[in-house]
Amino acid sequence: MSKDPNFDDFLLDVATSLELSDNDRRLVESRYRELKAHLERPSSPLKDYLVDSESRIYAQGSISIGATIVSGDDDRFDLDAMVEINVPAGWDNDRALDLLYDALQGFPNVREIERCTRCIQMRFATMHLDVTIMDPYTAPRNEREGEIFHSPDQGQGYRVAANPFGFAVWFRGNVEERGDSNGFLKNLSDRRIANAVDRLDIRAAEQDDLPPILPVRLDSLEVVALKLVKRYLNLRYENRKLKKPPSVYVSKLAITCGRSREGLAGQIRALASHIIGQMDLALSENTGPDERNPVFFLDRLNDRWPATQDDRRTLRQDMVDLLEAMERARKGTIQEIFATFGELFGETISRKAALRLRDREAGGSNTSPNRFLKETGTVVSAATATPAIAKVSRPVPEHRFHGGMIGGAKTKGD
């Protein structure tokens, strides 16, 4: 049972304010379809390499593990796609990305296309889509194993072993195996329905009935905690010159930190503490961490981070600050909690979450929609009480607070 049912409830409002709505997901899906059609069009320089019986273009990164969140305060999502082509032996390590860059020109509704070191980034009004190219290993290989290209503006390019698809399968398998946690999934699902914000224009999405490209949503304590920690890190690193730890690295730790028995806040504590442990070890040894893809040892999840002790110290301190702020908020009033959420997750998101709480509470009946835990004197909204809470609590007896003008109230006129 959650140690802090109300605090977890407020965190859930923040988390569901950060994620893709179902409608947003449909638009994202249509972007992936457009990507496939665009790269396979007759004039595409990559078309001859993409013809295959199975799709060689697929979603990767946060969308494949259900951890996509909005970036900054501008309601933008960052998404990733992988394109597999059998790279001819004569190509140098820049050519595949160069051709992908050319092939993506003219993509519908794109505002800007940038060639990055390992991907091509397409910038749309409300999303960025990073497209990476992979040269798959020849068969027999584990599913989707191959090499991506590191192709900097200056200096020598090289290949990097990778299997993000396998990582996503590993991540999802772990989450699914652990199952639900005391009714958390139902609460999350209810809250998502209540809080869904369509940030993207669904009218632009395809409405046809094609097989899905995106994996189904993945929900669990671990994923929601990961979303919140990622959001916190995004804001922390926004104005820093230091490089942010890779999202996939933090994602792996979100699983290896284990499942907390103390609800969502407990899961965030578990992840933050796990990261602190990793940084302490790396700081003492002045090397690492060297986190590998659990299904493909050659795939180093954080191969370009950390570069210095400063990187390690900074992440460690961020996690210490997160733990301290969470602890402070956990003992605070609702107003203090949302003020702390503003510091941790951004003012706009915190305000949205507070509004949703307000709407939910205002939508109750004019009787007592709460349950009461006698041991602590805690009041939990009946609508969001998990079965475990319901079991140890009882309804607050019906009543109405009075207006304060009954006999005995002293007014200036008395």
Binding site: R358, N370, H399, G403
Partner: protein
């Protein structure tokens, strides 16, 4: 902590209605069997930033020492309370619920809990009367 002084039964204890802890005091006149009088001791009640004491909703408002005002927990005309009701089963849950809505009021400026008809605060009543 329970004390019996003269004809008053006084209980002081700590509750955690939402996340913050409050020390509250319940005073019950067991001779006259009037409704229990509940106040917040630590932290005391406080108005919203730049607000007035008299605008705190649902209080037995005490002008001279507003921080000692009691919580208005039920509608006397609605027959929601009678002297057979155990303080632990009715007054304390209602007081904790009051604190929850009081915290939400501090956040939003609105009282989101169940309210009897009429003005929510002495301040509102005074403005209505003008």
């Amino acid at each position: 902590m329970l004390q019996v002084k003269y004809d008053l039964c006084i209980w002081m204890g700590t509750v955690t209605p939402v996340q913050a802890q409050y020390r509250i005091c319940v005073i019950w006149d067991f001779i006259r069997q009037t409704p229990p009088y509940v106040t917040l001791i630590d932290p005391e009640i406080a108005p919203r930033e730049e607000g007035n004491w008299e605008d705190i909703p649902h209080l037995w408002f005490t002008e001279e020492a507003p921080q000692n005002s009691g919580l208005c927990l039920f509608d006397p005309e609605g027959k929601e309370w009678d002297r057979t009701m155990l303080i632990a089963d009715y007054t304390i849950p209602w007081a904790c619920e009051w604190i929850k809505y009081y915290e939400l009021w501090h956040l939003t400026g609105e009282w989101l809990g169940p309210s009897a008809k009429g003005p929510e605060s002495v301040g509102a009543a005074r403005r209505q009367a003008v």
